[in-house]
Symmetry: C2
Subunit: 569 residues, 2 copies
């Protein structure tokens, strides 16, 4: 009945080596990953790609089988951003029924204890890794990511973030002793002695609210942090990106069932579009004790302010920024930035939006370069990167939904167009919604109302400032007030780098310095880079750290007198 | 400029040995304390008691000196529950001025880094320990605790809880590496290599809202968790118990000044009674990032629901319960319970209120004892404990404020009086507000509306239930719905003990089993007992655990390319 980290479990033993390596990784924060990011036949098997694509296609225009409480009806209206309806129907479930099923499943799951929670979580993850191609294609055709990114970010990188969350959970769970002998000296009298037992008690039922751009990468940390700490989980995907999480839930249920648990420890709440009211009602249910959300500031803030009964972890909108002060080689700066703007059409929570350049120009190895020349270098690099449609689409992917297209049209009116957004034809998908990045010129003196908002999608601004000082002041202030997940600085001056680090601390935002090579500001590596800080409005938590997991479980102790061990003095 | 756990500080080195022992203690959770709880001349010095009392008396009817931003006016209206006004005036400070001073002090404090925060916190604590007698008398004459308890709970035990919070803070801080070398293989190309730096960034300015019954015991954990993680702190004592925290703040400021920091890292916001509006306005200020509160459910819930900009840690009201199922020796059960009811006149957040006894009586070694006999045994033990006024006052202390007296009068009408509350004359303080406990008989079948509320003060109910099953059901449900910090069970039946542990898990409340000796359910030992669980409405946090500290700081990283160390394959 009592649970403790001491009780063991075969799945824990099976994966203990990986767990130990993950624990070392989060401590040293160097490079590490157990899940190969290259979709290589050598790693994943000669037929893995073809099998994965076939498995994805087999889902289309069918009902997704999931033996969980359901009304018997189906829901689902996913559209591939590459231009076709998925036609997949999912079992419709009532929140009431899923909450009741979770409560039913909770007790045995809780009683199994931390090593079972960790072992089962790691086994689920291992099975997910084997289906990385199927999940990759599913991510591609729900989010609009090009395949390579869908495979990497939706597969191994998401699995890394999940493992990271599990490792943090275990790192906290293992600190709670199962039992303690407490013996307090009483001078010449016999000591007072008590045996204490510490029950690790999960919060209860958790709700994971997925997003439509990174359903697995953003959904897994909360899901696995919840599971690893003994909670039951209802996974509510974004109506536009159900499939990757439906596959995930099915794997989780299979593993739970095989391990002798009620599979309703994890359930799927698939919905049709415009499910806001359903989510708001569910999120305030007293049974829901944990909520992980990725999405709009409006919805995230609503949850933070209304779901008082739950621990709420949110990632919301932000304004990511780049400060250009000086550079040895402007071309490599522009190339690196252009890649960051084009990658998945800027539909990343880490993609840069505001690029500050002093109106008097910047110093380079070849002398001062004017503001206009810097702006043109960036715009030119973007246009060059997207000049070959067949290659560009593998970087750009497709636009996830129509509201991004509308935002592009709205943004075009904001300032002088440096690089206009173009439609590109996708060689493989004639109806794919592909757009190149829009780059505009704005001025810090008059356009602040515009560039302090997030313009989600392939929209960026080269903003003329009075000086690097003003650029850094804006960067720190906008991050602190409006949120940001990334900040980058380009400078050859150590004092400016130092001032940028100060601005990043003021803004509570991670800083990338002089990226001109193979690392891009949008990229965040599990086990090494904290994704988000929890220190500005873009996110109230970081992926992952102790704070992300430590409040997902509680300790309920008992104590009873026992015979003292010491002999009275 | 950058901060990391690697930077050292002389005060860290000075106290490192104590810190290491505290880290071991929170890991093993056996008995440990570095601060002797006996007010012994051998430990604290031959003249420590007399000096401490004299120091306390020297505060009376004077202005408390504190060189912090002030309007030049003074505030303060503390009354000793032992029957005299303290007459102490404190500098009046405007919240605006304290917030501005904290912001000014923040940068250098932040830049000093974790070892400075920990070292300074430990030095403050050591100095506080030396003034345990002065603080003990100050706690006595603000809270109404008898001297021994005021010394122990207000002195060494509070210092233990502070050290515990500091140890938890360091345990989390030390996990963040200062720097990491990240090197990602790129097949036959040179690896990508980055140097990453992790800045530990405190949240900002914290607010500690003290209570009038345990100003130091409940105030120190938040205060020291804040300081140990680099935050600046405004300490806002309850208007009825300012002095113990004023002395604390003065010590903190002295240590900060001597260590070369701006003393405004810690300031005092003393107020007159009825300061609710001031607190509400302050608690919602954007600069306030952390709030620790102990007090009423109404105020605590208000903070949780309105101070959205802050991390809010609350301890609120609860209904503590005892389930009596069976006992070897009813007398020792009754004696133990009576002590718990009388201790500080039940004005402890951990004091029992509801005592469930089956209406058909309980099994004992001497056969079945009827409900009435159990009720009378408890009431009789209370009366016996309080029969000698001179001895009783050293246990009861005095009633903190008039609203407790009014509540006693209101409670008396609720049911049959088993033991009436009496006024006692205090031999040393003629005007002391001393009352013995009121014990009433209620019935589970009809009085639930009454006994699901907290009746703070020396008020308890022996409640007739249909069975131990019903008792345990009530205990778990009331704890879960109305909150509780303690639960006790008396039974000779292992199955009942097991069911009680299940009820404690359902209620998220710590369980004490068969306490008949020198440990009482109200007592919670730092480093061993988690005080509160954070799993029911009585508190959203536990003292102390990782969750209590991990979100008081954040990590803001920077990364820059460096030369790879590995030779390409």
């Amino acid at each position: 009945m009592s649970t403790s980290p001491a009780m063991t479990h075969p799945l824990f033993t099976k994966h203990e080596d990986t767990l130990q390596k993950a624990l070392t990784a989060i401590e040293t924060r160097g490079y590490w990953s157990p899940f190969p990011e290259m979709p290589s036949p050598k790693v994943y098997g000669e037929t893995a790609n073809a099998d994965g694509e076939a498995a994805f296609k087999a889902h289309l225009n069918k009902t997704f089988e999931l033996d969980q409480p359901s009304t018997g009806e189906t829901v689902g209206a996913e559209q591939s951003p590459f231009g076709f309806p998925l036609g997949i129907r999912y079992p419709k479930s009532e929140p009431d029924a899923l909450i009741a099923a979770a409560a039913q499943a909770q007790r045995k799951w809780r009683e199994a204890g931390p090593k079972a929670w960790i072992g089962v979580s790691l086994e689920i993850l291992t099975r997910i890794n084997r289906l990385s191609f199927e999940i990759g294609y599913s991510v591609m055709h729900t989010t609009g990511q090009a395949f390579m990114m869908a495979f990497q970010a939706g597969g191994p990188h998401a699995q890394d973030r999940a493992l990271e969350a599990i490792a943090y959970a275990w790192d906290q769970l293992r600190r709670i002793p199962a039992d303690a002998h407490w013996e307090k000296p009483q001078g010449k009298n016999p000591p007072l002695a008590m045996q204490k037992h510490f029950n690790i008690v999960p919060r209860g039922t958790a709700l994971v609210l997925g997003c439509c751009t990174f359903p697995t990468w953003n959904g897994y940390p909360g899901l696995f942090a919840d599971l690893a700490t003994g909670n039951t989980v209802i996974v509510k995907p974004h109506p536009g990106a159900i499939l990757p999480l439906a596959i995930t839930v099915r794997i989780a249920r299979d593993v739970l069932r095989e391990a002798g648990f009620d599979p309703n420890v994890v359930t799927l709440l698939a919905t049709n579009p415009n499910d806001g009211e359903l989510v708001q009602n569910l999120a305030r249910r007293p049974e829901i004790k944990l909520i992980d959300f990725t999405g709009s500031t409006q919805n995230g803030t609503w949850l933070e302010r209304n779901a008082h009964q739950a621990q709420v972890f949110t990632e919301k909108a932000g304004v990511n920024q780049i400060v250009i002060d000086s550079a040895d080689d402007l071309k490599s700066v522009a190339r690196n930035i252009a890649f960051s703007l084009a990658l998945y059409s800027g539909q990343m929570c880490t993609a840069p939006q505001n690029i500050y350049v002093p109106r008097d120009g910047i110093r380079t190895a070849e002398g001062t370069v004017s503001f206009d020349a810097v702006a043109e270098a960036i715009a030119g690099a973007v246009q060059k990167l997207c000049s070959d449609a067949a290659r560009a689409v593998e970087l750009l992917g497709a636009i996830q939904n129509e509201s991004v297209i509308q935002r592009l049209d709205e943004a075009r009116k904001l300032g002088r167009v440096l690089a206009d957004s173009q439609s590109l034809e996708h060689p493989a998908f004639a109806d794919a919604r592909v757009r190149t990045p829009l780059v505009l010129q704005l001025d810090a003196a008059k356009d602040e109302a515009q560039f302090t908002r997030e313009w989600f999608g392939p929209i960026s601004f080269v903003i003329a400032t009075d000086s690097t000082d003003q650029s850094l002041d804006l960067a720190g202030r906008i991050a602190a007030e409006h949120g940001a997940l990334t900040l980058a600085v380009y400078s050859t001056d150590d004092k400016v780098i130092e001032a940028a680090e100060e601005a990043s601390i003021r803004g509570g935002v991670a800083l990338s310095i002089n990226l001109t090579g193979g690392v891009f500001v949008n990229q965040s590596a599990a086990f090494s880079d904290f994704h988000g800080t929890g220190a500005n409005p873009a996110a109230n938590a970081a992926l992952a750290d102790a704070a992300f997991v430590a409040n997902r479980f509680r300790v309920v102790q008992s104590r009873v007198h026992v015979e003292p061990k010491a002999v009275p003095a």
